[in-house]
C-alpha cells in the first residue's frame, strides 16, 4: 500500500462513523453541502485576520461536510442531478472564499506581490474546474492534472497549520497552471483524434 493510500484509509475510519450517523439521522446531502460552505466562510474570515491555526481547524470541520455529502447521497439513495450541480457550484464558493480571505490579509499587510499570487492561484483554481466541466461537454472524460480540489484543500490546511501559506500558494499556482494546460492538451488531442474540427 502507498503512503497516501494509508493516510486515506486512516482518515476514512472516523468519516465512516459520521456518514453512518448522517444517513441514520436522514440529513439531506444538499443541507450538508450548504453547511460546509457556511463553515468555509468562517475559515476564510479567520484567514483574513491572519489566524491561520483557527482557520485550519475550521477548514477541517468544513471539509468533513464537503467530503461526506456525496457519500451520504449515495447511501441514502438521494443522488440527483441537481445535487451534483449544487455540490459543484457550492464548492466554487468555498474555494473562492478561502482565496479572498488570503487576498484580504495580504492587502491589509500591504503585500501586493502576494495579493497577485493569491489572485492568480484563485484564477487557475477556478479554471481547473471550468476546463474539466467544459471539456466533458465535448469529450467523455477529462481527468488529468495533479492539482484538483482535494489536493488544494489539503495544501491549504498544511499551510494554515504549519504557517507556510506563501509556499502553499506558489505550489497551488504552479500546479494549477499545469493542470489547466493538461486539460486543454487532452481535449485538443481527443477532438483531433475523433476528427472534430479543432481550428
Amino acid at each position: 500500500m502507498t503512503f497516501t493510500g494509508l493516510i486515506g484509509r486512516i482518515c476514512m475510519f472516523p468519516l465512516r462513523l459520521i456518514i453512518d450517523a448522517c444517513v441514520r439521522l436522514r440529513i439531506h446531502p444538499n443541507t450538508l453541502t450548504f453547511i460546509g460552505v457556511l463553515i468555509n466562510f468562517a475559515a476564510a474570515s479567520a484567514l483574513a485576520l491572519g489566524k491561520f491555526v483557527t482557520a485550519g481547524v475550521i477548514m477541517v470541520v468544513a471539509n468533513i461536510f464537503d467530503f461526506i455529502d456525496g457519500k451520504v447521497a449515495n447511501e441514502s439513495n438521494a443522488v440527483s442531478a441537481f445535487g451534483a450541480f449544487w455540490d459543484s457550484v457550492i464548492d466554487r464558493f468555498s474555494d473562492i472564499s478561502l482565496f479572498i480571505g488570503l487576498i484580504f490579509l495580504y492587502a491589509t499587510l500591504d503585500r501586493r506581490d502576494y495579493v497577485m499570487v493569491s489572485a492568480l492561484a484563485m484564477m487557475f483554481a477556478i479554471m481547473t474546474s471550468y476546463t474539466r466541466a467544459r471539456a466533458e461537454s465535448l469529450i467523455k472524460k477529462c481527468k488529468v492534472g495533479f492539482m484538483e480540489r482535494p489536493e488544494r484543500i489539503v495544501l491549504f490546511m498544511i499551510g494554515a497549520f504549519t504557517n507556510r501559506m506563501a509556499a502553499v500558494l506558489w505550489v497551488i499556482l504552479i500546479l494549477s497552471i499545469f493542470t489547466v494546460a493538461d486539460r486543454i492538451i487532452l481535449t485538443y488531442r481527443e477532438l483531433r483524434d475523433t476528427g472534430e474540427a479543432i481550428a
Partner: protein, 64 residues
C-alpha cells in the same frame, strides 16, 4: 515518446499528470511538494506571515 531520454520523460509525466491518487507516482509528488513547503526558507519566498530560515536556514546557519 518511448525514444525520449528518461529525464525528459519523467519531466513530461510530472507536467502531463495522468496518474491516479494513491499510486507510487502520487506519493513521490506529494513528498516533493511537502519538501518544498516545509524546507524552503520563508525568507526566500518573502513570506508575509512566516519568518526565519526554516530547516534549510537552520542547517546553513549550523554549517557556518
Amino acid at each position: 515518446m518511448s525514444k525520449t531520454p528518461l529525464p525528459l520523460r519523467v519531466l513530461w509525466n510530472a507536467f502531463y499528470w495522468t496518474y491516479e491518487r494513491a499510486s507510487w507516482q502520487y506519493d513521490v509528488m506529494v513528498i516533493a511538494i511537502l519538501a518544498f513547503v516545509w524546507l524552503t526558507p520563508p525568507e526566500w519566498l518573502k513570506d508575509p506571515m512566516a519568518s526565519g530560515g526554516g530547516p534549510i536556514g537552520w542547517l546553513i546557519d549550523a554549517l557556518k
